[in-house]
């Protein structure tokens, strides 16, 4: 395959990584933005989404589409409920103290990981995609008869992969509407801007925190569910999404949702392209290096605001 089609394919793979990463990282970002909690267990919520998706699809049985749709609805909800419980039992009791929440969520990471291992076992679990037709993609070339479209061998994707991108965009739009157009979004933003004043205006901040933690975990779980037909579910799969989410959130600017989405595109695309042409390890090395430079030259992130 020539360079052009090859790059096109790499960018497509990158867009899928970016889409899932945007969902996961936005979850981390709103939890940090509103609660000031650095959630080290965030990758485990991604993993839980994937593993629960397999579990639900297996229980439901029937056609793959039915199991997948049930998983898409219930895996994030179950993960969210579990996160709310973790918030209520752990984070609330340590008063959301920044340092102690880091330690607590490290503990949570291992608890969730090992509980998943003990419950579902160490095997990698596949989930069948609801639909998975192969689409050949066209490329162009200047031949003897001028401009012509060709269909190079190996240049193609599947309908499911494209659907992941569409689904991620729709979920992010829905989140944007929730945050900016609804009463619950107003309450969440008020809590973020001034916690004490939110309390002084009858906002039950602890309930808002539990809800935000659940929402953040639910978004990570959605990323996991969407990923699992492409990449199998496994109890150790939370590491990469956690690392990449942190990279994205730091580059985008802590707590800035727009910055997080832009950075997810940037990192997802470069991860896809570098992985295809060089190696996935190099992609992670470069992304981490980029974070280091952002922290040196623009510590508030690309879209973050300087603390006044």
């Amino acid at each position: 395959m020539d360079f052009g089609p090859h790059l096109f394919l790499a960018m497509l793979e990158g867009a899928i990584t970016a889409a899932v990463l945007a969902l996961t990282a936005v979850g981390l970002s709103i939890v940090f933005g509103i609660m000031r909690v650095v959630n080290v267990a965030h990758g485990e919520f991604f993993m839980l989404g994937a593993v629960l998706a397999w579990w639900i699809a297996t229980i439901v049985g029937g056609p793959p589409a039915l199991g997948f749709v049930m998983a898409l609805v219930f895996a994030p909800v179950l993960t969210g409920l579990l996160a709310a419980l973790a918030d209520w039992l752990v984070l609330r009791r340590i008063h959301y103290d920044p340092e102690r929440t880091i330690l607590a969520t490290i503990g949570l990471l291992y608890v969730i990981q090992q509980a998943t291992l003990m419950t579902f076992g160490p095997e990698a679990r596949p989930v069948e995609a609801p639909f998975n037709q192969r689409i050949a993609l066209p490329w162009f070339e200047w031949g003897a008869d001028g401009f012509a479209l060709i269909w190079p061998w190996g240049l193609g994707t599947t309908t499911y992969k494209l659907a992941v991108i569409v689904a991620a965009v729709m979920i992010l739009l829905a989140l944007w509407v929730l945050m900016t157009r609804t009463r619950i979004g107003l309450i969440m933003r008020a809590t973020q801007l001034d916690r004490e004043m939110a309390v002084a205006h009858a906002i039950p901040v602890e309930k808002v925190y539990a809800m935000v933690f659940a929402l953040g975990a639910g978004l990570a779980a959605l990323g996991g569910v969407l990923t699992v037909p492409i990449q199998q579910a496994h109890y150790l799969m939370g590491g990469d999404p956690l690392l990449l989410s942190f990279i994205v959130v730091i580059i985008g600017g802590l707590g800035s949702v727009v910055g997080t989405v832009v950075a997810a595109l940037l990192i997802g695309m470069s991860d896809g392209i570098i992985s295809v042409f060089f190696s996935p390890t190099l992609a992670k090395i470069l992304a981490t290096l980029f974070v280091a430079f952002v922290l040196i030259f623009r510590p508030q992130g690309l879209f973050g605001q300087r603390a006044s």
Binding site: I187, A190, V199, A200
Partner: protein, 231 residues
């Protein structure tokens, strides 16, 4: 009637309020006067439930506010305009007022009434709160509080740093609220501003309230002012 009775308040290990008692009556302005660090702001925060009480109680009519969770206090009819305004800066004027309206579940009528008091805000409903001038921000902080339809309004230095025309406007609003039977607790440093509108003055010193007197008496005899404020 807001009844603050023998409250003791501490920030972690440092006690700031030692058995302070004051009473605010409907339709009257109670002014807390005292030097910096005497415990005036702390008293207001304690009334709101934002700081836990070590002892004593705060009650509004029959409801014991100090037994409630902090976020339930505003629903009972206590509104707070803090020092430095503390608006929800990234939100619009309208959204800041919406947060207030949500407290009481009040609707359009309340919003209209509040906007009548502060017509300037009506022109700026979609503007971000942090782009307003200082005076407009103070208006918005009061509007946000009034949207909760309070029975008691706590005002912490509402005219600090404002130009005279703004001060006059805010004084007019306070007088109007008095006529609507709202109990007002005012923390203020400027003695002249206080004496013009206060009904009762409570002197605060070292976290206690050693003396309460009618504002009228103070106008005739300023010796207490010298004693507690050094002016």
């Amino acid at each position: 009637m807001l009844n603050v009775k023998d409250i003791e308040v501490a920030y972690d290990a440092t006690q700031v309020i030692f058995g302070l008692s004051v009473v605010a009556l409907p339709g009257q302005v109670l002014c807390l006067l005292g030097r910096n660090g005497a415990g005036k702001t702390t008293t207001l925060k304690a009334i709101m439930g934002l700081l836990p009480l070590r002892a004593g109680s705060v009650s509004l009519d029959e409801v014991v506010l100090s037994e409630l969770a902090a976020h339930e206090v505003p629903r009972c009819g206590v509104a707070y305009v803090p020092q430095g305004r503390r608006l929800f800066t990234e939100m619009s004027v309208a959204q800041n007022m919406d947060i207030g309206l949500m407290v009481s579940g009040a609707g359009r009528a309340t919003r209209e009434k509040v906007l009548e008091l502060f017509p300037r805000l009506r022109e700026r409903l979609t503007q971000r709160a942090d782009t307003l001038s200082g005076g407009e921000q103070q208006m918005l902080a009061m509007a946000r509080a009034l949207c909760t339809e309070p029975k008691v309004l706590l005002l912490d230095e509402p005219v600090e740093g404002l130009q005279p025309s703004m001060i006059a406007l805010i004084r007019d609003v306070i007088i109007r609220l008095k006529s609507e039977n709202v109990a007002i607790v005012l923390v203020e440093q400027q003695v002249d501003a206080v004496l013009a509108i206060a009904d009762t003055v409570a002197f605060i010193e070292h976290g206690r309230c050693p003396e309460t007197m009618a504002a009228r008496e103070l106008q005739n005899d300023a010796s207490q002012l010298r004693r507690y404020l050094g002016v």
